[in-house]
């Protein structure tokens, strides 16, 4: 297992009774990168992540997270890994400040709690009981508790589910800040735009395996995929053409119309199109 890998997984297997959730999965996440895991529900995403987090035992395969087998997670390893789970329980009767201060006490070299609270944008809510927070604010608190120990590696499980667009954008800024500071981040999400915006690389899980890993721009030969050129014809209907050389086609159209082409658009498949094709094939 090489040293520049934060996570290295080979041949990971996990079954629940007759149901094989993870079926020979391989994965490598580099130190300092933001890696997004995509996959439909039931593809083995959560099982994989929870094995990496040391919450579940695997049936087979080699797993190394920060150089340690998470099945033998100890306190020293836990203090290097931050985890933001889906829908974890709050401490209703405590204030944001109390909870973050308390969790800071679990770590050998915690960050400053008040600083972390303002970094996640909860400075104005520091004295509020956590049950009074909105969904988005609770998620920020989750992140605060995930990063209070200054983790080298941070797991984020569907962090922005239920956010409004503005809250999502603010959250992305927060994640970018962490990544810029050198934290390795593994993110699972159902939002393709989120993966595209945040991730250095994207891995697609389907049927318990990783079926593709690449940068969001290159995933599934997206760069080389045919572009769709659409324009409006003089009778008002919309014409579409698929082309490997859209620039030439646009030049030809420009010549045909003698300048501006009415209603011209040139599009490549979105990450979502590519992703849906990929998981549709399985």
């Amino acid at each position: 297992m090489t040293n520049n890998l934060a996570i290295s997984v080979r041949g990971l297997r996990k079954s629940y009774g007759d149901n094989t959730a993870v079926d020979g999965l391989d994965l490598a996440v580099h130190r300092g990168e933001v890696f997004a895991l995509l996959g439909p529900n039931g593809a083995g995403k959560t099982t994989t992540v929870e094995i990496l987090e040391g919450f579940r035992q695997r049936d087979g395969g080699d797993v190394s997270v920060l150089g340690v087998d998470p099945a033998r997670a100890d306190a020293a390893w836990r203090s290097r890994v931050g985890i933001v789970l889906q829908g974890t329980g709050e401490f209703d009767e405590l204030t944001v400040r109390e909870v973050v201060h308390h969790f800071a006490g679990f770590y050998p070299e915690p960050d400053d709690p008040d600083d972390v609270i303002s970094r996640v944008g909860l400075a104005g809510k520091a004295g509020s009981r956590t049950h009074a927070l909105s969904g988005g604010q609770k998620r920020r608190l989750d992140v605060a508790l995930g990063i209070i120990g200054r983790p080298e590696l941070l797991f984020l499980d569907e962090p922005t589910t239920g956010f409004d667009p503005e809250a999502r954008r603010e959250f992305w800024e927060l994640i970018r800040g962490l990544a810029a500071a050198g934290t390795t981040i593994v993110l699972t999400t159902h939002y393709l735009d989120e993966a595209e915006t945040l991730a250095d690389r994207v891995g697609v899980i389907a049927g318990g395996r990783v079926v593709a890993v690449d940068t969001p721009a290159k995933l599934g030969e997206r760069e080389n995929a045919l572009a769709t050129v659409a324009w409006r014809t003089p009778d008002g209907s919309v014409e579409r053409a698929q082309s490997a050389t859209p620039t030439a086609l646009v030049a030809e159209l420009a010549a045909r119309y003698g300048g501006e082409v009415p209603g011209l658009t040139v599009t490549r498949p979105t990450l979502e199109d590519i992703y849906l094709t990929m998981i549709g094939q399985r």
């Binding site: 919450f55 203090s79 985890i83 209703d92 405590l94 006490g105 679990f106 508790l145």
Partner: protein, 265 residues
């Protein structure tokens, strides 16, 4: 941040107590319940047992025992499944916090709330209902060890029982009837020696009966020992049964405790 084991445990205990005191339900139903009950019972059953001993003197033993069971057994057996369901346990497991700290926090909370509740009960009983406190050091000593052993058994059983409820929402439905049945059959609401003997025998399997009996040795005159089914307060057997429940509870805790819900695998 200091990270000695003792400070970790006390910090966790402080957090638990804070949460307890800020939850109106737990304050009313756990802390104040025995006091409410003694106010009701002492007002209704305002008669004397033989020898000029007020009924309150008998009833307070059951209320102390019930109070200790409520905070040790009921509150934990209900609270832990809720915390498990809501992912609080999983979140704590994801931190470097040693596992025992979670239990230490519960124990500190149970001990402090149990003590506060008992003192409150004694204060109200003495000030308003003519309760006579034990007069010899020996009786205070008995009071001490019966309470400590009893609340320890209840706490361990509460933690063990917490793995039985399938969900946090179902926990009260599983726990409350058990507590109620034990209270009715163990001599909390009725004079134990008046219960049918089969009921006495069933109750004798469980700790609450022995806690009540040990406390009767503290709060009733020695002459009342003759009215016990065995003709004495059997303090040796009280110690033995409560210790046995501590061992059983501990073994169940160690073998059955779950940090995650069943659907979490």
């Amino acid at each position: 941040m200091s990270t000695t084991p003792l400070s970790l445990g006390l910090r966790q205990g402080g957090l638990e107590i804070k949460q307890f005191l800020r939850s109106r339900e737990s304050v009313v139903f756990t802390l104040a319940f025995p006091v409410i009950m003694i106010v009701i019972f002492a007002s209704i059953f305002n008669w004397e047992l033989e020898g000029g001993v007020r009924f309150t003197q008998y009833f307070v033993t059951g209320m102390i025992a019930t109070g200790l069971m409520t905070v040790g057994f009921q509150s934990l057996a209900i609270q832990i499944p809720i915390e498990r369901d809501r992912g609080v346990l999983k979140r704590l497991r994801g931190t470097p916090m040693p596992k025992w700290v979670y239990f230490a926090g519960k124990v500190v909370m149970v001990a402090v709330i149990g003590l506060a509740e008992t003192l409150l009960l004694l204060a109200v009983g003495t000030l308003f209902y003519g309760l006579k406190l034990p007069e010899t050091a020996g009786k205070w000593l008995t009071f001490g060890w019966v309470s400590v052993l009893g609340i320890t058994a209840c706490t361990l059983c509460g933690v063990a029982f917490s793995s039985l409820a399938r969900s946090g929402r179902g926990a009260p439905a599983v726990v409350t009837p058990v507590a109620l049945v034990l209270q009715f059959t163990s001599g909390v609401f009725f004079v134990f020696s008046n219960l049918p003997s089969w009921m006495q025998q069933v109750a004798a399997i469980f700790p609450l009966k022995w806690m009540c009996q040990g406390l009767r040795a503290v709060f009733l005159p020695d002459s009342f020992a003759a009215q016990e089914p065995a003709g004495s307060f059997e303090l040796g057997r009280v110690a033995l049964v409560l210790t046995a429940w501590c061992v059983i509870g501990l073994l169940l805790c160690l073998t059955t405790f779950r940090w995650t819900t069943r659907r979490d695998g």
